[in-house]
Amino acid sequence: MATPVQTQTVDLVARFPGMVTADARPGYTGFIVNKENLVEVATAIRDEFGFDLLTAVTGVDYLAENKMEVVYHAYKTTGGPGLVFRVQVERVDPVEVPSLINIWPGVDFQEREAWDLLGIKFTGHPDLRRILMWEGYEGHPLRKDWKEPFFEEEAKPFKSRWPDGQHTFAENKNPFRDNLKFPADFDPEKFEVVNEDGLYASLERHTMKNEEGSLNTDHIVVNMGPHHPSTHGVLRVAVTLDGETIIGLKPVMGYLHRNHDKIGERNTYLQVIPYTDRLDYFNSMSNNFGYVTTVEKLMKIQVAERAEYIRVIMAELSRIQNHLIFIGMLMNDLGTMYTPSLYAFEERELVLDIFEAVSGARMMCNYFRFGGVVRDIPDYVMQKIKDLVLERLPAKTDEMERFLNENEILVARLKGIHVLNAEDAIKYSVTGPVLRATGVPYDLRRADPYSIYDRFDFDVAVRQNGDMMDNYLIRFDEIRQSLRILEQALKQIPQGPINSQKPQYQVRVPAGEAYGRIESPKGELAFYVVSNGKPNPYRYHVRPASFVNLTAVESMCIGSKIADFVALLAMLDIVMGELDR
């Protein structure tokens, strides 16, 4: 078993006297960097201290202190704990913070998101447009003084509903009788629509130009999506084409932006769990896992021993199911319509049967609780899991590989296409199987172990070429490793209580912040939660794998064919619920 490299604690204060102070607030860790020195300090963090992977960038609005904060979480791809550093700026308009896009290009979308939702202007960002909402939308929704049209109270449970259970339609309380909010004296007939010039200008800027002296060909701009049969949901991309070759590309998202963060901040801690189900809707179990581990970190509670095993079993089953679907969908996108995906869905149904038996729902399981899980696994279900893990799934995985792997068309479509090298992958903060396919053995279950993953014997699946073929094969490797973990977990699982806490509606969460991350089937899924001791999270942020992995898409497909682009989306394994939140 490889143990993660232990790093000596990083002392930024000693290295940068006067520019950095340690964060002394109770419950907080890390360093506060002066805004003026951010770029310099960040460069050192990457180059001197070796934190090459910047996983998350997000903002927090401390309204009472009249401050805005930008929080960065940096890690090493060799493993080990991370480094938190932050910048605090006064809450004046506009809030300005230097962009780190030249140091970690992976911050691109995340900085745009912070601009969109919190109104933090990242100076030096070459393409700072709104990303989830549309250009021209009024306000920055995650600011604490911004209220949504159906606003009722700061925090749930709302007094109007609880404890008497009354309900009035939110529409009746809103002046516009709908989920709408317009500036005072707004006249819909006189206003001018903000068009999408910004998008096309940026596409133009990032388009390769015809070489001097070469044949001068015409380029066309095509919009794929948001309704497109293969974009895996409502993603839209604007592409510039030269014939069939992509020479410029910009993804446009937000078509499924369901305001997860804002709703999460109104909810109580417990109420957030079912919402996390709906992030990556293929893997509600993994999402639950990530969220509860984060809050447990804040609460500093232990998880019941049996529950730990149940969690691992569910998360790994979920991974297997996800990867099977991945393979089926990838085949769909390559043109082998339906047959392989029908095979994949057949196995998925069997896994969903287990989820349904333990949690009551096929997809939206809502199964984890702080300190454990909500229900025990009945014996007959345990038997079903055993049959599935020990007999059926290994055989079916082999069968699928036998059917597909050497198929000539498949090999021709996958081998050597869309190569991502390790350096770029890290640069763009790519995580998960896509990163491991480039030869970087970075798996959080090993690199930064959570739950009880350190007890199991398994290998981190790695492939070396980073092309589509390796991305496809690594999914099979991971299924095999998951089966290995499951086998051990099923053998070792002890009897006992399934929750270390009493069942409760309201949990006490001490003030502070926590950043909890897990290896979801799609990559690093992390939650950043700030508590101020109240029953609701003060700040709740999801760092989704799909969203950040998509940052690499632009550089990956320039120069390739448009037909391969659809397969590339399948390869990145994005899911819109998580991408747009």
Partner: protein, 214 residues
């Protein structure tokens, strides 16, 4: 051919002609054709779309009801299955797709989100139910509805089609020639439903007055 569906009851057709001759009404013939091949638009919005896919796979097999032919283009589709959360940003695209569908066309709201906004109703980017814009024929509750529920909902749609008459359906109504065209909403400071321009202006003016007096 399911004779009992097509033929009117109470007509005695000789046994050897049963598969050749049918005595029926125009309505029955139309509806029988329509209900047996409702082609959905291949269109997924959110989590519910995954259950929609699951409903097409081997275990549930929607094809048994003549509904498996998902069309990627609205021009070949008969039914729009709104499977997931409708966001304000996505809405113009949905309306455009709907307007491009030829008639007769049906709308099924699958899941809590499409019916009413569901768990995300309070979200600032969420449209609280597609029925604020499109005429919904069948609502399917659930979050997500199970494939069984989806199929039950689609059977309900078939029953609805069975009861229609070409004399009354809206798409043959001469007066309402353009009556089914839904005007495109605009993305401004918030979603602008152009049918409600006057309302919005008035409410915004009231808001200004209250602000000034406050």
């Amino acid at each position: 051919m399911e004779n009992e569906k097509l033929s009117l009851p109470n007509y005695n057709i000789p046994e050897d002609l049963e598969n050749v001759v049918a005595v029926t009404t125009l309505d029955r013939l139309y509806n029988w054709g329509r209900r047996s091949s409702v082609w959905p638009l291949m269109f997924g919005l959110a989590c519910c779309a995954i259950e929609m896919i699951a409903a097409q796979t081997a275990r549930y097999d929607m094809a048994r009801f003549g509904m498996e032919v998902m069309r990627p283009t609205p021009r070949q589709a008969d039914m729009m299955l709104v499977s997931g959360t409708v966001t304000k940003k996505m809405l113009p695209a949905i309306i455009r797709l709907y307007n491009q569908m030829p008639e007769p066309k049906y709308v099924v709201a699958m899941g809590a989100c499409a019916s009413s906004g569901g768990p995300f109703k309070e979200g600032y980017n969420v449209v609280a139910g597609i029925d604020k814009f499109l005429p919904v024929d069948v609502y399917i509750p659930g979050c997500p509805p199970t494939p069984q529920a989806l199929i039950a909902g689609l059977i309900k749609l078939q029953e609805k089609i069975d009861r229609q008459s070409i004399k009354t359906v809206r798409w043959y109504n001469k007066e309402k020639k353009d009556g089914n065209y839904v005007p495109m909403p605009i993305l401004g400071p918030d979603l602008i439903d152009v049918r409600r321009n006057a309302d919005i202006k008035q409410a915004a003016a009231v808001a200004k007055v209250t602000q000034e007096s406050a």
